[in-house]
């Protein structure tokens, strides 16, 4: 499981990693929804396209997570599968992301509710590349 939860008194820190930046972002999606429900019980029924942008990679990570929270909330869905198709620099201080999130309508009976993530924050935000892996972390307000 290339993500872990970090100790934080009031909220939940997440640390994710993978071989490519895109895959590490996808792990972030999994960690986020693992806070909310038992993601193993979520089926892939439909997908939502996500595109977002930010001025650096760490901020883009927060942006991606917050877009996932917003879309899940508006569409009353919960996601389990994430694919980031591209993360590209655009101009001098902008990165753009394109991806998809797949899941189904949220069902309190079926999905074993945990706690609702309110937002991804810039707190504890880190991005590093070491030993062949991209690592990202931040604190999720719950």
């Amino acid at each position: 499981m290339p993500y872990q939860f970090l100790d934080h008194e009031a909220d939940i820190g997440i640390r994710v990693w993978d071989k490519t930046l895109e895959k590490a972002f996808a792990q972030g999606g999994k960690a986020l929804f693992d806070i909310m429900v038992d993601i193993k019980k979520v089926k892939k029924v439909s997908s939502v396209d996500i595109s977002c942008e930010a001025r650096d990679i760490p901020a883009l990570f927060v942006e991606w997570l917050n877009h996932l929270i917003t879309q899940a909330s508006i569409k009353k869905m919960v996601f389990r599968d994430f694919k980031v198709t591209s993360i590209e620099p655009f101009g001098y201080d902008l990165y753009k992301l394109k991806g998809t999130a797949s899941g189904e309508k949220l069902s309190p009976k079926k999905h074993t509710l945990k706690v609702e993530p309110k937002a991804a924050t810039y707190f504890g935000l880190k991005y590093e590349f070491k030993d062949g892996n991209h690592y990202l972390q931040c604190v999720i307000d719950v």
Binding site: A10, S73, V115, T121, F123, V139
Partner: protein, 484 residues
Amino acid sequence: MTIELKQVSEYIWEIPKSGEMLVPGRIYADAGLIKHLVDDVNKGKEWNALAQIRNVACLPGIQKASLAMADVHPGYGFAIGAIGAFDAETGVISVAGVGFDCNCGVRTLKTQLTRDDIKGKEQELANELYRVIPAGIGSEGKIKLSLSQIDEVLVKGARYAVEHGFGWQEDLTFMEEEGCVKGADPQTVSHEAKERGFQQVGTLGSGNHYLEVQYVSEIFDEKAAQVYGIFPGQVLVSIHCGSRALGHQIGTDYLKTLESASRKYNIPIRERELVCAPFKSEEGQRYFKAINCGINAAFANRQVLGHLTRKAFASALGTGEKTIRTLYDIGHNTAKLEKHKVDGKEKDLIVHRKGATRAFGPGRPEVPAAYRGIGQPVLVGGTMGTASYILHGTEKGMEEVFGTAVHGAGRISSREAAKKRWRGKDIIAELKKDGIIIAGHSLSAVAEEAPGAYKDVTQVVDVVHNAGIAKKVAMSKPLISIKG
């Protein structure tokens, strides 16, 4: 990391002004509570409250001190239990000082029932509350709004709910700001925020939010209790929740706006979550108007939930709805424009309270007329196994801490550690032995909220009481807790 800390009086510790700090840090605590904060630093814990208090002391326009209450624990940017008051002319406004759950707060209702009156009927009442109060992830409110009607909620706050049959005018009298802050502009709130929020007015949420039936177990101040209408054994209901997804989205949207603003106005930022904008800037004003919308959404939310509680009591116990009155309703995640004395001079300040309750003393016009001789009620939520407190604001609190007090017990264990240590089912069984019924929508959330994951609420409340910044009126103990 080392952080210098010195005790300046029996209940006050100070981080002396140094480096980029514009004011000192000042923490209300006792030796035991402060030890925990210091241990975090000594253990090299990166996310610690003292560093967060110090970082806030560096923000432009901060007045007097970067303050923290006895329930302080690490947050994001601002610590939870922190107060940052900034000069309205030269200071800043920050998302981290409000949090993502704008105007999360507590509403307490007082019944005319005693603990004995509901003996043997607790389970029936718990079942009915669980059925009537929408709670947990994905729940929707019973007040049906169209997307365009949400704008009216954002402007009118609790008044909107009253106009639509959820409660009475008297409820508004006993709410902070009478349930509606001025200066809310729905145009500053994104379409996404409204789309997320319009079906959630009158929902409890999840995490640490709850609806609790309690009984008054001890009165500390007879006179104040009489003024507030509280008596021994009385059944109270406390509702802890906020502005739901609408408020979360306001925070998310403006975190980005304020990040750009920090660069535009060249504000030195020591921690990225502390991004902010000058209060008087276009970005700062827009965020302030949006916060006011979030504040009103939370007031409306608690107003609806308060009224649904009456309905549940009526159907489970036959209680007359009119006999359940609002004691008070107060937020603890806000940024508000207030007048305070600084160095003997009255100033307009933008006061951020992140997990801290406004605690205005006697005589302030903001306090309901009926309570003005005593000061406003301060509603302090404990845990589902311990106790809650009602305090009153004091003149000393106005002078020292911008009229502020603690908001709860304050966490001591992380959510992850709590889940490893306790199981939701065991907590429910243990509390049942003590006569407390827990009706939760999520077992893991119950484990995360285990009473042992929190500081001792009595110890925390005693600090502010002994320091004189708020005074104890009554203590209540839980009978039923509905968890999201």
